[in-house]
């Protein structure tokens, strides 16, 4: 089996899909439990107009949860993968912009509790967050690439 064939194998693709889905479900849960804290996180990014901060804090976790569950369950895979990819691009852009302008923030990605970190620690965490999101974006790329290559042959039964 060539590396390309291995990368395109349904066995790998299904696992990547489930892992990505689990990441998103895990990311959504703390935000769903405590929306005001997540709204605070969204506010700290200083990218969302004040009127929309709360709305975004309420809707985004549900979008993450539904897209994650769809990936895990293999429902509407192309669309759910696309949504996850779009969310990751937004996250990467938002963190990068704040990194560039020196606004040290807690990511709020998997935890919405205020971490008492120094500015330098927060900036270092933001760089790691971007790397992690880029890694997940690679997972999205793998799923979409295989789907584009093989159509709708990926099914959970290949587990």
């Amino acid at each position: 089996m060539t590396p390309k064939e291995a990368l395109a194998s349904p066995w790998l693709t299904v696992r990547v899909q489930i892992a990505l889905g689990l990441f998103f479900v895990a990311a959504a849960l703390p935000k769903l439990v405590d929306p005001p804290s997540f709204a605070h996180m969204v506010y700290n990014y200083r990218l969302v107009p004040g009127a929309f901060v709360n709305l975004m804090a309420l809707v985004m976790p549900w979008l993450e949860l539904l897209a994650g569950l769809a990936l895990i369950l293999g429902i509407w895979r192309r669309v759910s993968t696309g949504l996850v990819g779009a969310l990751l691009l937004v996250f990467i852009a938002a963190i990068s912009l704040n990194l560039a302008r020196g606004n040290a923030i807690d990511c709020g990605c998997f935890d919405v509790a205020q971490a008492n970190k120094t500015i330098d620690e927060r900036l270092a965490d933001m760089r790691l967050d971007i790397l992690r999101d880029l890694g997940m974006l690679l997972m999205v790329a793998q799923i979409l690439w295989v789907k584009g290559r093989e159509g709708h042959k990926i099914v959970p039964s290949t587990l």
Binding site: L32, V33, P35, S37, R46, P49, N54, V59, L63
Partner: protein, 230 residues
């Protein structure tokens, strides 16, 4: 055809997320609920480096930034500027023992400044608390219940009923010139500053933000209580 189907599926997921969010928020408890439309005047203002919060005027002030300069400069003791070293001293001697709640005493030391807020030190707060001024805790309800300055009232800015609380406070008919102390968690916490902006817009013009907040109060062993608001 495929594109149309995919767009339809994506729209369905987004609509389902919006619906779930609205239903969950409607059913959430007060501490977990959010107002659908937020009111955060500084949502797009990036804090200056090495300084977590930049004072800013509320919308009612035409959006012009407020000066961080203390209006009490030259008066001693009084509130200190944010960027300046602590310039105030704790009440000493006969002053420390004279626990007067006379508005004149308060206004002499903390005259109205007509800014959204002025930051003050823990010593100032101790002086004011001893004289029974109104103290507002801007942290989340759970944090308030875990411990707060004695007699402080809970005004959690990130919870849905904050505007109702502000309206109720205004309805109490308090004199807006009398100092009000606001605090949150110190450091880069700006909840008290956000609350100050709301109150300033509601007519309070002598709002004093406890710069170092709750951690400093604990450190200096100030009078505190736990449990829900009585």
């Amino acid at each position: 055809m495929n594109l149309r189907r995919h767009l339809l599926e994506a729209a369905t997921v987004v609509l389902a997320a919006i619906l779930c969010a609205l239903v969950a928020n409607a059913l959430a408890s007060r501490e977990r609920k959010l107002a659908l439309v937020g009111s955060y005047p500084n949502a797009l203002v990036v804090p200056e480096k090495a300084e977590a919060i930049a004072p800013a005027a509320p919308a009612s002030n035409g959006g012009a930034p407020a000066s961080a300069k203390s209006p009490f400069e030259g008066k001693h003791p009084g509130p200190s500027e944010k960027s300046a070293p602590k310039a105030t001293v704790p009440p000493q001697g006969s002053e420390a023992r004279t626990f007067s709640s006379s508005p004149d005493d308060l206004l002499k030391r903390f005259p109205p400044h007509n800014k959204p807020y002025v930051e003050i030190s823990g010593d100032d707060v101790a002086w004011l608390v001893a004289r029974g001024v109104l103290v507002l805790d801007a942290r989340r309800t759970k944090d308030y219940e875990e411990g707060h300055i004695a007699l402080a009232r809970s005004f959690p800015v990130w919870e849905s009923d904050i505007d109702a609380r502000v309206t109720a406070l205004v309805g109490e008919g308090r004199d807006g010139a009398i100092p009000v102390v606001l605090y949150c968690s110190g450091g880069d916490c700006e909840d008290s500053h956000m609350l100050a902006q709301k109150l300033f817009g509601a007519g309070f013009n002598n709002l004093l933000v406890y710069r170092d907040g709750w951690p400093d109060w604990v450190k200096r062993r100030g009078s505190s209580v736990t449990g829900p608001e009585s």
